[in-house]
């Protein structure tokens, strides 16, 4: 089973959002991959692989899950990808151009 999700955090799949994504992926038994639609996915449990995709804010990714808890895993990963970064300013995760801006409140 799979799901296509638009990435909401300003930083895309980097730093904090990526760490949250990988941590979530590691909580499930299901085999999970993530990638751009039409391309082969990478292991969702690997920080290296996930940040290596260099997915930016606003891009769409496809998550594929196989296993008993696949549906729950997809829900959890979608939640990470659609939650703006928490915190007071999100400075560390925003692009240089939005130095003073950053994440909206969740």
């Amino acid at each position: 089973m799979e799901r296509t999700v638009e990435v909401v955090p300003d930083a895309g799949l980097h730093a904090r959002p990526a760490a949250a994504f990988v941590r979530a992926a590691n909580e499930f038994e299901a085999e999970l991959t993530v990638g751009r639609p039409g391309e082969e996915g990478v292991g969702a449990n690997s920080m290296l692989a996930v940040t290596g995709l260099n997915v930016r804010n606003g891009e769409t990714v496809r998550i594929v899950a196989e296993g008993d808890d696949a549906a729950e895993a997809l829900d959890a990963l979608e939640a990470v990808l659609t939650t703006p970064v928490e915190g007071k300013n999100g400075e560390s995760d925003s692009e240089p151009a939005t130095d003073s801006g950053g994440g909206e409140p969740p």
């Binding site: 930083a11 980097h14 690997s46 920080m47 692989a49 999100g90 400075e91 560390s92 692009e95």
Partner: protein
Amino acid sequence: MRTLSGVGTTPLSGVGRARWYRPEAALSLPERPDPETVDPEAEVERVERARDEAREALAVARDRTADRVGADEAAVFEAHRQFLDDPQLVGDIEDAVADGTLAEHAVADRFAEAVAQFEGLEGRMAERADDLRDVRDRLLRALLGIDAVDLAALPSETVLLAERLTPSDTAELDPDAVAGIVTATGGRTAHAAIIARALSIPAVVGVGDGLATVDEGVDVLVDGEAGEVVVDPDERRRASAGGVEAPVRTERVHTADGRAVEVAANVGRVAELGPAAERGADGVGLFRTEFLFLDRATPPDEDEQYEAITAALAAFPDDRVVVRTLDVGGDKPVPYLDTPTETNPFLGRRGIRPSLDEHADLFETQLRVLLRATASDHGDGLAVMFPMVARVEEVEAALDRIEAVAEDLDAAGIDHAMPELGAMVETPAAAFLADELADRLDFLSIGTNDLTQYVMAADRENEGVATLHDPLHPAVLRAIDRTAEATGRTDAWIGMCGEMAGDPALTELLVGLGLDELSASSVTVPAVKARVRETDADDAAALAERALACQTREGVLDVLDRS
């Protein structure tokens, strides 16, 4: 003295002794042994132990950063832990070790591939390379049994130089010991820069290869405002940095040839009074009373204001305390005052204007407080000044108000005296009317930030006109000169409050322009006093003449040898 340029990421300055941080240099790997001689099982165990150790160290760094800086900044260490436990990386390392590679080489090799994946890319991807190096070095240090340089225990007044600093390096630094950070790589939004900013450590990043030419042990000035690194700075450059303190002098100072120049402090809150006195300020040149009114739901009552004013007088029992009456509006809206929205707030209802009109009641209360305070202990040091005056009529109206309040107090049998009275010269109009204003008052004080804004028609807050907003422009200098000269023809004294008065590099010029008093943030008081003592009044006057004759800002900079 030579200067390197980079990107200033913390707008503070500091001076200290250069110390190189080269974590990579210590991590020299052993020779690659013959795979036959390596015990794969033992190596797997070593990798496991190193990962455990690194994981613990990361937890410490995360907690320390969360504690000292903030949860947002600490989150980067969660990303580091994810790299440490990355199944792909760990799997590759374990495979290599199983094939007879020494743990150190397995880690170095696999991380080199991962770093290469991100290296040379822009922005976020380059930061990931830094994160990976950070994790790799932790693992290698653990494997090699090398303690990292203890960044948390650097000697005081250290300027730390490094090719790059990881976020965990930066978070370990003790802001009290580290006078500055300079790195060859990095940008404003790198995590290390963000943490340095949060720790208030002066920092310049992205200096480039030139940094390598700076030797261990030399004195370095880090100017995070200008993005400059000055190697072996001269005295004047040192004096302009907050890092090196001129000796504190509590006594009044004179120029070398005996002209008295008062050096006072600008103060916004009662809590700032003690530090100002400790730094040897000759009283308060500007007490900004608006801080009593901001950040609250209702105006402060008479007693509360009285306490603040008498606290200021008590902090400077032998000195003058110049209290500026309420200066709100413009960039300082006060919610309960129902300030109207204006098209050009800086040209609108601000300074003395609302006090004489829609906020006459607040003004009257404040004048009552100030007059009462003259009868308190040390009340004879009180002076009162009116902000952003543009017309003689405004000063006359303000004087009428204070006379009226004095009569009320007389009628009520409340002790009081008339304080010294003055006005701020912030508008070109006030500079042109300085003669007439000074005739009616005891003193004038030039507010250079606003005066520059209005003379140059350049909004202080607008970065698009930042180069126009420069008090060293001849037009501004001539406005200052005109004000000082006109005041000099009267019995009034002339002071200056504002950033310009606090720049020790400009002290000679300002003395030359004829100012009797300079009032600056208390941090710069010792340096300004030191400069006054070195100044010769005749030389200063000649310098001012040359500056006033310039047609351009660049000309002034040449005269001041600041180009």
